[in-house]
Symmetry: C2
Subunit: 458 residues, 2 copies
Amino acid sequence: MSIRESERLQRRLRIRRGIRLHPAQVVVVGFAAAVLGGTLLLLLPPMTRAPEGTSFIDALFTSTSAVCVTGLTVVDNELHWTPLGHAVIVALIQVGGLGIMIFASLIGLVLARKMSVRARLNAATEASVVGFADVRGLMRGIVLISFAIEALTWMFLFPRFLFGYGYSPVDAAWHALFHSVSSFNNAGFALYSDNLMGFVDDPFICLPICAAIILGGLGFPVIMQLRKEFTRPLHWSMNTKLVVWGTIVLLVGGTLFITAVEWDNPDTFGQLNPAGRVLAGFFASVQTRTAGFNSVDIGLMHDESWVAMDVLMFIGGGPASTAGGIKVTTFAVLFFIMLTELRGEGAVNIFGKRLSRAVHRQAITVVLIAVAAVMAGAVLLMLLTGLAFDEVLFETISAFATVGLSTGITADLHPLAQAVLVLLMFLGRIGPLTLGSAIALRERRILYELPKERPAIG
Amino acid sequence: MSIRESERLQRRLRIRRGIRLHPAQVVVVGFAAAVLGGTLLLLLPPMTRAPEGTSFIDALFTSTSAVCVTGLTVVDNELHWTPLGHAVIVALIQVGGLGIMIFASLIGLVLARKMSVRARLNAATEASVVGFADVRGLMRGIVLISFAIEALTWMFLFPRFLFGYGYSPVDAAWHALFHSVSSFNNAGFALYSDNLMGFVDDPFICLPICAAIILGGLGFPVIMQLRKEFTRPLHWSMNTKLVVWGTIVLLVGGTLFITAVEWDNPDTFGQLNPAGRVLAGFFASVQTRTAGFNSVDIGLMHDESWVAMDVLMFIGGGPASTAGGIKVTTFAVLFFIMLTELRGEGAVNIFGKRLSRAVHRQAITVVLIAVAAVMAGAVLLMLLTGLAFDEVLFETISAFATVGLSTGITADLHPLAQAVLVLLMFLGRIGPLTLGSAIALRERRILYELPKERPAIG
Ligand SMILES: [K+]
Ligand SMILES: [K+]
């Protein structure tokens, strides 16, 4: 019965698209179409202020960066584009952010239906938490929640731009809109040449943006459960608990480490008062999950901060969110597996529930492929550019985890190297999701078991 | 019955040491005692040619590096020590290499006895392959095999030093002895200030040394099985198959990559003829598993080679070998888990046998702890020294995986930073083994199973 339901859902997906596609293929085709459409739009003359127009690689890079909500840029986002160009970019961001949340949630729904009835009753799975029975309801829910949080962020940013910085009402409304959408969708695009460095010690700009980023990075299933059961943390699903606690630990840890390392750095936090330094540290920590705004020059931060940000960016945000990376849950699952081993326990129990064994292998697979993609990308960039490993590693992780932070090298790279980053952004955005869904939706048949053997480890 | 046997074996271990210790504690205490003994010996005036003697940190560092068969040095190994000092170092290397093989094999034996009788019959476990029923036989076997391979290596090196380089017979014998022991035990100590750079294009020195290193890095259980069943690869245990095939793949891949990257580098391979470049590439590839000799200046190699060597060093050699790293088997197990996921199969089957599920978690644990130790060590070194990430990462992996290759920074580090490396060498040498044994030897009781749940991954 559960299998049949899932098939009906998959069939409906196919009918909506007109052709028979595996959900994973739908994701790839959908994102590729959005990137190409965006590229063509951005190539049009009215989009740019540059008299020579926009080159193909610049348009492709910007479109990929917007649709994949990465935020890496090869042209000056303030000066190169007209307001129309900015409108296209913000639309691509919104499409990309909604797209990833909808696809990921749909796949979660199909997956949940595929589980046995008993497992579903026990599991408090995401789909039952989300509470949407059909595809249309789910999509409507995601769109409404997104717009609601973006509107709320807008209401904080608009008066600050209007009164705090003396923008005209139209300008203030537009800047608030652009940065709200860019924040909630973890895109990291800003309307300023220096990103958000002008607001480094302004909590009225930084904090609403951080709040929108964190909410967007939690993921739709978590947002829905928090909305319903915020005050009953014991009822949360394992997914919600892992995302919420993981996010808190990573945010606090990142803030403390980056603030401590950069405290006296005259090129970054050193010029701020103590409160400003903590704000800047918190802001930088939030950006690694994986929004990618910057309020100080990343290129001038200490190498230690880069390494910490490498790790945080690689981990990323929650599943079915606008954030990238291997996901907080993947990292948490590996951590709890390790804890179980060190304690010598037989089963991996997290918050009073047993972790499904299939998840062990899934987590290993996602991490190994992410490591392989990042390392291959880094070595390729080194061969193409001759830049140092730390710079290249930072940029590669930033692209793959769709963060968009940069040590400053991206804009000056050879087009071939930029093409590598385009590929990494695309792979990083849709890779883990399509891979995960392709794996999870496949039938597993165990026809016979081979005799067991254990090689020595470590 | 198997439990009782294992307990008897553990008890015997305790009786031999006089006090009741867990095998993991025996390893820690044994290695710490050897390091301290070596430090005290190396502090004695007759050991050094330097008029001011040897400082405590230099003696501690050298002793740790020798006992842990790492090969990192803080003093000039040729000029600082007298022949007596070199004799102490080679003795420490031999003790450390034998120690790690004996402890690891013993733990494998205890572990094998702990498996159920049926599992043992199916599994062709290491212990049954090794064919030694008791501790004394096992130890004797390891010592004999080690000395036999070292003697064989000596017979290739001695005539070359004697006739090819015109050493006196005593000098040739001594140099052949030192480098044989240093090679088989994957120590990487050489009697020359520039390590083995003087022999970069001499296959009669490089190849015997490489052969000894590769054999030492396979591990005792694999050597024993190859000795008995070299021509019957289908009969090999999963452990042997993983180590042999993994070693071949990594050696060939490493040789191709490093040779290609360094081909035109005027500071490394560029000055050699084509055959010499391939030899140097093969030599460098072998050293990462984890002997640590160098025939070119590592500091002048390209950054891409460093990254490749980082990866190869981190993986290391076979279990129960003189090599370090997370071990080829650990890496191979994770790779096959990924392959199983990508193929959508239900069980991880390797070479016609099913991989024990307990091994999944063990492999994850070893890798996570290794990554954490390396990252923590690298950040600590960066904070202490202000050096760049790529240099520090190379040195940290080299220390933790007991490789001993260096970009050249170790000798000039602050004593505090050198102390970090001492700790990393010690942890890297005995950590995975003691951790693995502590986990594997512990009783696992599953009293009740909690309801299952699966969070979203990737
Ligand atoms: K981003
Ligand atoms: K070594």
